[in-house]
Symmetry: C2
Subunit: 337 residues, 2 copies
């Protein structure tokens, strides 16, 4: 049904529309791409593509615009991820150079990605559940209040304030800290619950109430805060893209951690690129936007995801190239630290 030339026409339509932002007609296509056929022939092909639902006519006498389905076909079969230019690659390297802690890495990454793609960038912090504990610290704040600091191998630092049921002396704090570290150091966070459950038996009875409170907060931290830490940047790019409508909806979605999480995708396929086009994503109000996301991680396992959100009429090959490259670089940086 769709022969090679029709696919070529579709590709040409997508490319022209992305660069001009205006519906593209048969004549313009024949001029700008040497398809070797006349406008009339192209019109026939266009009619077929429209029947198939790949393109759409805003008005009777206007050119064609790709539909979500058309973009999907383009991304899947008609385009190749475009590698970054040397300059861009160098920009990434300088941007992420130096020894950095996790906060800095994430902050810089999200800005870099926004700048590179000219879209809104979204970066998720490395997942807690896939990390291991590196250190637990208990800092006394007041008689019955301590701050609990949890450091993971991915460099993530989680802090919680804990109200204790009774006054606790400094040496007991030290003892507790030692016990906790001995038990949890190197422990995969997924295994923390069982480790924690077994812990009270190793403690003297007098320490148990306090320990129980602290342990429950540790568990809570892992469950509640889960993987919800996520940041975005480049909202200004949304204003530049002359958005159809719903800029407000998009901004609202961006400020909802949960929505962002879902947008990046729950897929577990390694660092594969995920593209969600327009209505393919589950949120109304995000019609007209596409998401390009990838997983990143040190070595083989995916730690978290990052990506960009932009209008469906984005330049997919370039955007996908940038997202993939940044994901890889971040992975390397994390592996090195």
């Amino acid at each position: 049904m769709l022969d090679d030339r029709k696919l070529a026409v579709l590709r040409a339509i997508v490319e022209d529309y992305v660069s001009t932002h205006e519906p593209v007609g048969s004549k313009a296509l024949a001029d700008r791409h040497n398809l070797g056929v006349s406008p009339a022939t192209i019109r026939n092909d266009m009619a077929a593509l429209e029947d198939g639902g790949y393109i759409h006519q805003p008005h009777t006498s206007a050119g064609r615009v790709p539909t979500d389905k058309g973009y999907r076909l383009f991304v899947d079969r008609l385009s190749q991820v475009k590698p970054l230019s040397g300059a861009e690659r160098r920009a990434i390297e300088t941007f992420l150079a130096g020894t950095l802690d996790l906060d800095e890495i994430v902050t810089r990454t999200v800005r870099l990605l926004a700048q590179l793609t000219r879209h809104v960038a979204v970066v998720q912090y490395p997942s807690l559940t896939r990390s291991t504990v590196r250190h637990v610290e208990i800092v006394p704040l007041a008689d019955t209040r301590v701050m609990l600091v949890l450091i993971t191998n991915t460099g993530r630092v989680e802090q919680r304030v804990v109200d204790l049921p009774e006054v606790i002396a400094d040496d007991r704090v030290s003892h507790l800290r030692a016990v906790l570290n001995a038990a949890l150091d190197g422990c995969g966070l997924a295994k923390v619950p069982e480790t924690v459950a077994a812990l009270p038996e190793h403690l003297s009875p007098e320490d148990r109430p306090v320990a129980a409170t602290i342990l429950s907060v540790i568990l809570e931290t892992l469950v509640e805060r889960h993987e919800e830490k996520i940041v975005f940047a480049g909202a200004a790019n949304l204003a530049a893209a002359d958005f159809t409508i719903g800029l407000r909806d998009v901004l609202e979605a961006l400020e909802e951690q949960v929505v962002l999480m879902r947008l990046l995708g729950e897929t577990d396929d390694l660092s594969e690129l995920t593209v969600r086009i327009g209505s393919e994503n589950p949120y109304t109000g995000l019609r007209g936007t596409s998401i390009v996301a990838a997983g990143y991680g040190s070595g083989d396992k995916e730690l978290a995801r990052l990506g960009v959100l932009g209008p469906t009429r984005m330049d997919y090959p370039v955007t996908m190239g940038a997202v993939r490259a940044v994901a890889r670089y971040v992975g390397q940086i994390l592996a090195g630290s």
Copy 2:
């Protein structure tokens, strides 16, 4: 020059324009506010106000709109900060209830403020230089790499990764940690530099190179990161306010930490409300926006600032009330932890 009635007219113009978003004419004023005079008289007053530069006529045959100078007069002399309703006060309390760590307090505060005012909210983290050290932790990451964690009395947790010049054994790490904590615990951050400078003498020669590296990073953290930690929320509210132009400029400014810092104001007058109207603030591209800010802190000293940014045509009394109330509540929360 400006008698009481002219001021009343100006107030009426500001109030009407804020609620309708449309230029207001003499007839409408006479109808909606009982000023006790006829439209013709009001017109005369308006002419005087326009001569004074307090109001402005978009077109010859349109109503009047307040100028920045007009808003300024309104804020300074014609309005009273409006206290929050009981429901709003309760909302604040429930929103900030529970024992929270600093990150949570700041995150919730900025969202609360955005929701309450329907503008963009901005909150600065408690200033580092006005805090004291509560705990220093050194966590080994690799042979020549450690993570440095700095906890302040305001609950702020700063983390840095440090590359060391040589391999360091665990017991030496412990020793260093003990020395650092002994020296710095309770130390005002402003005094850290001198304390740090005196420190190497108390150390054995073999520890000095490593210590020097770590100390320099501590100093760097205090100087470089200074007070630059700042967050915002509620960008979606910008889209709702049918902005004249420059939504893009505003979003860009919001993503620049430095610009945000300056916007909140560098004033040191305690928790006084600061209002910057339109062209009063130093950034082009923020014409058409006003900032309402206040300092917050536990007890008497100002730790940092928070505020909102919205169109100049905002409801100042209500906004100022909300900002002031939130600043006070946050101060209380911080004092309690």
